[in-house]
């Protein structure tokens, strides 16, 4: 059972470049999330999705875009990379809330540096 899989694990970008961070889950979870974690800080929510075709902004959405065409996949797009987007990005998923004591399951993260 793979859980939440993120690719790539590491990436270096130049300012102004674009890239897509991939996230796939095999647990048939409805809810998916993208967070960023800056050094020494807690995680901050970028975007979330409650199901295929439905996405919404979190706390820090500027500079990012998402899509959710399938239940399994929730890619995060950076269009014009900026140094402030240097961070570790975590994708997470959870089943419908109210279906028990289910935490959010996190991927291993993507470490992104923008130079």
């Amino acid at each position: 059972n793979a859980g939440v899989t993120q690719t790539p694990k590491f990436r270096i970008l130049k300012i102004g470049q674009s890239m897509t961070l991939q996230c796939t889950q095999d647990m048939n979870h409805n809810y998916m999330y993208w967070y960023r974690q800056d050094p020494g800080m807690g995680l901050k929510l970028i975007y979330y999705s409650v199901g295929a075709g439905i996405t919404d902004k979190g706390e820090v959405p500027n500079g990012y875009n998402v899509s959710r065409s399938t239940t399994e996949d929730f890619p995060l797009r950076l269009e014009l990379a900026a140094p402030s987007q240097t961070s570790v990005y975590f994708c997470a998923s959870s089943p419908l809330l109210g279906t028990g004591n289910q935490p959010q399951h996190f991927g291993d993260g993507t470490r992104l540096s923008i130079l």
Binding site: Y33, M41, G42, L43, Y48, P103, Q104
Partner: protein, 116 residues
């Protein structure tokens, strides 16, 4: 805006000692989570607390929730070196209609170091 504050932010303990990490949050929530993170790693779920007075225990860790005080605690009993990690509490905020969607607001984390 939901705010989550943990204290202490740094905790240096001797093996065998007890200590408590506190997590305060600012607005109504229907669930609170505790996670552990080892350096350079992902987050590992420890506890999910859903109701006032909830108490959960796993090994040397025990978590509790007081929704009226908007306070959760993570108590460490007889610390061992393997507990050294960063511990986060996270609170699921609710919108004006009372719906959560599981959007988590994290505390800053408590870096725990256990010394022999």
């Amino acid at each position: 805006e939901l705010k989550v504050e943990q204290n202490p932010l740094f905790l240096s303990m001797q093996e065998g000692k007890n200590y408590t990490i506190y997590c305060n949050y600012s607005t109504t929530s229907d669930r609170l989570y505790w996670y552990r993170q080892d350096p350079g790693k992902s987050l590992e779920s420890l506890f999910v607390l859903l109701s006032n007075g909830a108490v959960k225990q796993e090994g040397r860790l025990m978590a509790s929730l007081d929704t009226k005080a908007r306070l959760s605690t993570l108590h460490i009993t007889a610390a061992v070196h393997d507990l050294s990690a960063t511990y986060f509490c996270a609170v699921a905020g609710v919108n004006a209609g009372g719906t959560s969607y599981g959007k988590l607001t994290f505390g800053q984390g408590t870096i725990l170091t256990v010394h022999p």
